[in-house]
Amino acid sequence: MAELVIRNLVKTYGDHRVVDTINLKAETAELVALLGPSGCGKTTLLRSIAGFVPISSGSIEIDGRDVSKLAPNKRNTGMVFQNYALFPHMSVAENVAFGLAMRKVPKSEIEKRVAHALDLVSLTDYAERRPRALSGGQQQRVAVARALVVNPDVFLLDEPLSNLDAKLRMSVGMQLRALQQKLGLTTVFVTHDQKEALMMADRLVIMRAGRVVQEGTAEHLYQEPATRFVADFLGHSNVLTGTPVEGGFRTDGGIKLPSASTDGPRVLAVRPENLLLGGETEGVETVLDATVETVTYLGSITEASLLLPGGERVVAHHQNRTGRELHLAVGDTIRVGWRTNATQLLIDDMSEAA
């Protein structure tokens, strides 16, 4: 296992910088998630680490060795592809053995290591099957075993959960995370699904238009997003546009709200779960009278869309616990409030860009 360091990586197609001066480091045994909307360059970045995309400038170092000019087969990375990319004409065991055979490992050792890898992913009984005869979850585990058995320096995951159904995704993700931690694999994980990234990564790197917008732990990014884009991409956020004023923030609708003070243009963001309703607003700094516009029961939470006195709309999420149900009807007037420390003043990087 090893450390991965990417310096000033640029990849251009024609005039378009798909990956634009990325600096990234994955420590030994760390799982770094590259997260962003489609077309943000995260997949190109992953594929350039694997060697499938020749980079335009910059360097990729694994354990201090610059691999950026090496062919894919010389880099000792282990990649799990989105569609698994299993060899359909080989059995599960032959798939897993492939990388070892390429490394000219002796036959007896190959057998031992394949058996061990299949055991790790609980597929010992399926060794002789063809990939076609396996379920999606099983195929994914074959792909993982195949990538791991060669002891790669860096483990690369290209949306490995996206072809699984919703119910399976969570448990397979947790198993993959447990395996990665157990084996101490330095891992780069690409996804557009924030839940997968939050659930699995030690560190998240939020990308947009080829650049890194912000990086950090899940808690850090969710609680202290640097910009409106990050706040909106990770979870949902109520964004109020307006102007920071002395001791607070005045919304475009004209309400003055308490907030931290800041310079320069900002928007005020507050998470739906931090909107307190009715009696919950006791003792918080901001309390307003709002009109209920829609109420949507979603099982574990109820989502209410509220109209603020200034004409802004905000969304509140109430967790439905037995004995603490929310009873709201469209048209009701209700007190809504939030703590000042639950608000963030963010740079607005959403209105300028497309």
Binding site: A71, P72, N73, M79, F81, N83, A85, F87, H89
Partner: protein, 269 residues
Amino acid sequence: MARALTSRLLFGSLIVLLYLFLLLPVLGITYVSFFNSQFLSFPPPGYTLRWFANVFEQEALISGFITSAEVAVLASLIGVVSGVLASLALVHFEFPGREAIKSFLLAPLLVPGIVIGTALYVFYIQIAQSTGWNPTRSLVGLVIAHVMLTIPWSVRLIAASMGMLDRSVEEAARNLGAGALKAFLLVTLPRMRAGIVAAALFSFVISFENLEVSVLLVQPGATTLPIAMLQYIEWNMDPTLAAASTVQILVIGALLLISDRFVKLSQVV
């Protein structure tokens, strides 16, 4: 409900009729090959197997069969190898105008065989006049001509079967330590099997059946089977040719069935 059933019956019988129509020559000629009469007449006075025996006594037909088989094997071999290489080039490298080149691949299919034959005939005469070596004396001239028929098919069929392949599988092989050549031989080539079998079969049959291209390029005494058959029918009206045709259909049918065991041709062609 009732109307759905009616239209189903209607369409079903249409398909059956079409098939009968298409199979008419095959069935008819097979039937005629058993007629026990020197000249064709209906109804036949009786049935016999002797025309099948007679086929194997006709040296012209036998040597035509051998020539055709030799030429077809060589031409499809060359066609398939070119097909694999060209498909690699077409599918692997995303160069500008790739789509245009694919369209272009149709063009040779549409050049009339008689034009190819005429052109090569003229060309070979030039070569014979200036070098003294006549390409039609050996099989080389014929094989070159037939390769022109097999390559467009091979490239199209193999490229199509390769285009359906997911490139990430080859990337996985590279990622696992295989060099470009090994990844191709161990992973990509086996997955092209369906296309290769289809291309080989089609090439063989198209070369074996061809008359247009060959007709100007053969030497007396070294003709291909279709030409030998044509020459035979000019002088004989007995069912020998029907028997030869039956044998030919059986051979091609067997080839088709055998390759269908390996790959579902209907998915490729």
